[in-house]
Amino acid sequence: MKKILLVDDEQDIVETLKFVLESDGYTCFCAYNGEDGLKLAKEIIPDLMILDIMMPKINGFKISRLLKYDAKYKNIPIIMLTARSQESDKQIGEETGADVYITKPFDLDNVLSTVKQLLNEKEE
C-alpha cells in the first residue's frame, strides 16, 4: 500500500483528503505543522507528500527544499497546495522542487488524478 503524507495546519483539509485517499486505498500519515511534517517525512519516507505552503514554524517551501536537496528523500513526489492569492508562489514551488502545484480551493478529482499520475511516474 502506498504511503501518503499530508501536511497542513488546517485540520479539516487534512481530514477530508485523508478520508478520500484512504477510501481509494492509500495509507495516510498526517501532520499539522511544518516541524512535525518534516520529522514524519524523514521517519516514514512516504511515497508521496501533499504539502501546504502557509504553515507556522516551517513553511511548505522550506520542507520541500530541505527534502529535494537531500539525496535520501529527493525522489518523493511533492504536491504543493496554496491559496489563489499567492499566484507567484507557483514559480517558487517549482523552483523548490515541488512536482505539482494545486490551488485552493481545489477540485477533488484533480487532486486524486494527480496523485495517481505522480505515483505511476515514480514506478516507471
Binding site: 479539516d12 477510501s23 491559496a83 492569492s85 507567484s88 514559480q91 523552483e95 477533488l108
Partner: protein
C-alpha cells in the same frame, strides 16, 4: 565772535543782542577752545584783523569742525588768504556795514536750518528704505519655509534688522495648546527679569482679550520659555521694563496665534511702529499655510493608514474567507462521489445545489479580490506570448458542460491568420471565461453562442458611438475577439455603463443573473493593462455581441521590439522588471537552458529564441518582486549575474538589468 579788538566785540554784542541773537566772544585762542567745549555756536564771526591771535591754529580748529557751523570772516583788505577759502562761508571787508553783517548772518542761519531739515528727512528716508528692504527680505524668506519655528525666527531676525530691539518676546501656543514664550535678547536675561517677562506676557495676553473669551487658558505656571541671548556675558535686569516697547498680535485669519513684544532703549518712531506691525502681519499668512500643511500631512498620514488597513482587510478576507471553502467543497465532493455512503436522488440533488453555490461564492470572492488588487495597483501580470485560438479553445472546453446542460450550441470562427498576443495567459483566460459565462447565462435554452477572431487594423475597427473615444486611441494591428450571444440584449443607454464598476444597470437583469457586477469592469481593467479595449453591441430581444481587441505580436518580433513592449508593460504594472538576455553561440544556449530546466518556466518565451545562423539568444522577463527566481538563477548561473560578461561553458553570457522606479506609496 573771535577778535582781540574789545571795541568791535562790544559793538557787535550790542548790535546782535538787539536782534535777539545769543552772543559770546573769545579774545584769545584758549578762550575760543573753551567755548567750543561747552557750546557749539551756529555762527562764528572771525576777525582776521586780530594780530594778537594765533590765526593758523584757529583756522585748523575751525577746519576740523566746519561741517556743523557757519563761519563768517572779517577781512582787513580785499584779499582772501588761501587757507580761509576752505573754511569760510562769507567774507566781509572792513569797514563792515552793520546791515550787511545782519543780513549775511540771517541768510546763513536760514540756509543752515534748511540744510538740517533736508538732512533729517534724508536720514528718515534712508531708514524707511532700509526697513522696506528688511520687510521685502523677510517677506521672501517667509515664502521659503512652512516650518512654524523657522517662521517665528525669520520674523525676529527681520525685527532686529529693521528696528534693533534689546529684548523681544514671542508668545505662541503649540498644537496641543501648550503656551511657549520665546525670548530673544542682546544680553542675558536674569532670572528675576525672566519671571517679570512671564508675568508681563500673561498680562499682555489677558489685555488682548479684554471683555472677550480667551481662545486658550494661560496660566503662568504652564508657560514654558526658550531664551536666546547674543551676548551671554552681560545680564539684563529690570531696567529693560522701563525701555520703550511695542506689542502686536499675530493672527491666523481670524484666529489668535500669539503675540510679539519688543523693547528698545531708545524710543520708537511712528515709522518704527508701522514697520513693526507690518512685519507682525507679514508672518501671519505663512503661519496659516504652515498650519494647513500640518493639517494636510496629518490627514495624509491617516489616509495612508486607512489605505493600509484596507489592503490588510483584503488579505484577511482572502485568507479567512477562502480557507473554509476548501474543506466545504471537498466534503460535498466526497459525499457526491459516494465514498461516504450511498445517496438517495434527493440527497444528491441538494448536495449538488450546495456545491454549485460554494462555487458561486468562491467566484464572488475572487472577483472582489481581483477588483481590489486592480484598484490598489497590485495586480501582477506575467506577460508571455499567448495564442488566442488556443486560449479560446481552452475556455470553451471549460464551459462545454454548462452549455450542454442548457442545450446551447457553442461555435468558434477563427481568422485564417494566427493571432498571437503578448499577454498574461491566465488573465486572458479570465477575460474569455467571463464573457463566455455571461453569454451562457443570458442565452435562452437551445440558443447559439459564437466566438470569433479577426485580425484587424485599428482604423477599421467599428463600434457604437459611446465607445469610439477609446477606440480612436488605438494604433496598429489588433486581434478582435467577438462573443456573440442570443440573450435578452442591453438597452443602448446602458451599453457603456456595464463596464463601470458598481454602475451595473439597476434593472432586474443583474438580480436575475446574480453576481457582484464586477465581472465586466474587471475584464475591462485587464484589457486596459494589455493596451487593449472592450465594447459591446446589442439589440434588445435579439442578443449582444461583446468585442475586445488586443495588439497582435508579430511573428517577426525581434528582441528590441519585445524589449520595448516589456518596458511598456513594466510601466503599466508599475513594477520593477529584470530582463535577462542570454546569448550564446551554437546550441550551447539550448543545452544550458535544458540543463538548468529553465525552459519550463512561464517567464520564458520560446518565440524569442532568435536563431541567426549560429547565434542564439534568449530573453527572460522576471518581475523583480520574484526574488526567489532571481536567487535561483543566481545559484544556477551565479557567475552570470555577478559579472556582466562571464563564461559559462562555451557560452558568452550577457545580461542586462533594467529597473523602473516603483511609484511612491
Amino acid at each position: 565772535m573771535v577778535s582781540d579788538n574789545n571795541k568791535k566785540i562790544k559793538h557787535y554784542d550790542e548790535l546782535l543782542t538787539n536782534f535777539s541773537h545769543d552772543f559770546q566772544f573769545a579774545s584769545d585762542n584758549q578762550m575760543f577752545f573753551d567755548i567750543l567745549d561747552t557750546v557749539m555756536p551756529q555762527i562764528i564771526l572771525l576777525d582776521t584783523c586780530s594780530a594778537q591771535l594765533d590765526l593758523p591754529q584757529l583756522y585748523r580748529k575751525i577746519n576740523a569742525i566746519k561741517e556743523n557751523l557757519v563761519t563768517l570772516t572779517i577781512l582787513k583788505e580785499d584779499k582772501i588768504p588761501p587757507e580761509l577759502l576752505n573754511i569760510s562761508d562769507a567774507f566781509l571787508m572792513e569797514p563792515v556795514s552793520d546791515n550787511i553783517l545782519i543780513s549775511t548772518i540771517n541768510v546763513n542761519l536760514r540756509r543752515k536750518e534748511a540744510l538740517t531739515r533736508l538732512s533729517t528727512s534724508n536720514q528718515n528716508l534712508s531708514k524707511s528704505l532700509y526697513q522696506l528692504d528688511v520687510l521685502y527680505n523677510t517677506g521672501s524668506q517667509f515664502a521659503a519655509t512652512l516650518d512654524k519655528e523657522k517662521l517665528i525666527n525669520i520674523m525676529l531676525e527681520g525685527l532686529d534688522k529693521a528696528l534693533g530691539f534689546s529684548v523681544a518676546c514671542v508668545l505662541t501656543f503649540k498644537s496641543d495648546n501648550e503656551p511657549l514664550l520665546i525670548i530673544n535678547s542682546i544680553n542675558q536675561i536674569s532670572d528675576r527679569l525672566l519671571e517679570a517677562l512671564k508675568l508681563r506676557a500673561v498680562l499682555n495676553y489677558k489685555s488682548l482679550f479684554e471683555n472677550k473669551e480667551m481662545p486658550f487658558e494661560l496660566n503662568i505656571n504652564d508657560l514654558k520659555t526658550i531664551k536666546y541671548a547674543k551676548n551671554p556675558i552681560e545680564d539684563y535686569d529690570f531696567s529693560v521694563l522701563r525701555y520703550d516697547n511695542m506689542l502686536a498680535q499675530i493672527n491666523l485669519s481670524d484666529n489668535f496665534y500669539g503675540f510679539v513684544e519688543i523693547y528698545r532703549d531708545n524710543e520708537f518712531t511712528n515709522e518704527d511702529t508701522q514697520c513693526f506691525h507690518t512685519i507682525a502681519q507679514q508672518v501671519s499668512m505663512p503661519l496659516k499655510n504652515a498650519a494647513y500643511v500640518q493639517e494636510i500631512q496629518a490627514k495624509n498620514k491617516e489616509l495612508y493608514r486607512l489605505e493600509h488597513l484596507k489592503s490588510e482587510f483584503v488579505s484577511i478576507v482572502s485568507h479567512e474567507l477562502r480557507t473554509p471553502i476548501t474543506p466545504l467543497k471537498t466534503s460535498l465532493e466526497i459525499m457526491l462521489s459516494g465514498r461516504a455512503g450511498i445517496l438517495t436522488p434527493n440527497m444528491e440533488k441538494f448536495l449538488n445545489i450546495g456545491k454549485n453555490n460554494v462555487e458561486t461564492f468562491q467566484k464572488i470572492i475572487n472577483d472582489l479580490l481581483d477588483m481590489s488588487k486592480i484598484e490598489a495597483g497590485k495586480m501582477d501580470y506575467k506577460f508571455t506570448s499567448v495564442n488566442m485560438e488556443k486560449a479560446i479553445s481552452f475556455v470553451k472546453t471549460l464551459q462545454n458542460n454548462v452549455a450542454d446542460e442548457k442545450g446551447l450550441k457553442l461555435t468558434t470562427t477563427f481568422d485564417e491568420d494566427f493571432a498571437t498576443v503578448f499577454a498574461d495567459e491566465q488573465r486572458i483566460h479570465q477575460v474569455l471565461n467571463n464573457l463566455l459565462s455571461n453569454a451562457i447565462k443570458f442565452t435562452k435554452e437551445g440558443g447559439n453562442i459564437d466566438i470569433s477572431t479577426k485580425i484587424i487594423n485599428a482604423e477599421n475597427i467599428k463600434c457604437p458611438e459611446c465607445f469610439s473615444e477609446e477606440i480612436k486611441k488605438l494604433k496598429g494591428k489588433y486581434v478582435q475577439v467577438c462573443v456573440k450571444d442570443e440573450g435578452i440584449g442591453i438597452e443602448d443607454e446602458n451599453l457603456a455603463k456595464i463596464f463601470d464598476q458598481f454602475k451595473q444597470i439597476e434593472s432586474s437583469l443583474s438580480r436575475e443573473v446574480g453576481g457582484t457586477g464586477l465581472g465586466l469592469p474587471i475584464v475591462r481593467k485587464i484589457l486596459d493593462a494589455h493596451n487593449g479595449a472592450i465594447w459591446a453591441e446589442s439589440k434588445v430581444g435579439e442578443g449582444s455581441s461583446f468585442y475586445f481587441v488586443l495588439p497582435v505580436m508579430s511573428e517577426k518580433s525581434n528582441f528590441w521590439i519585445l524589449h520595448k513592449q516589456l518596458i511598456q508593460q513594466a510601466k503599466v504594472n508599475k513594477t520593477k522588471f529584470v530582463t535577462l538576455t542570454i546569448s550564446a553561440k551554437g546550441n550551447c544556449i539550448e543545452n544550458l537552458m535544458q540543463e538548468n530546466n529553465l525552459l519550463s518556466g512561464t517567464y520564458l518565451n520560446n518565440s524569442l529564441l532568435e536563431k541567426d545562423k549560429d547565434l542564439t539568444s534568449l530573453t527572460m522577463v522576471i518581475p523583480d518582486g520574484d526574488r526567489h527566481l532571481v536567487d535561483f538563477l543566481k545559484r544556477k548561473i551565479d557567475s552570470v549575474i555577478l559579472n556582466d560578461k562571464a563564461r559559462y561553458g562555451k557560452c558568452d553570457i550577457i545580461y542586462t538589468y533594467t529597473t523602473y522606479p516603483k511609484e511612491k506609496e
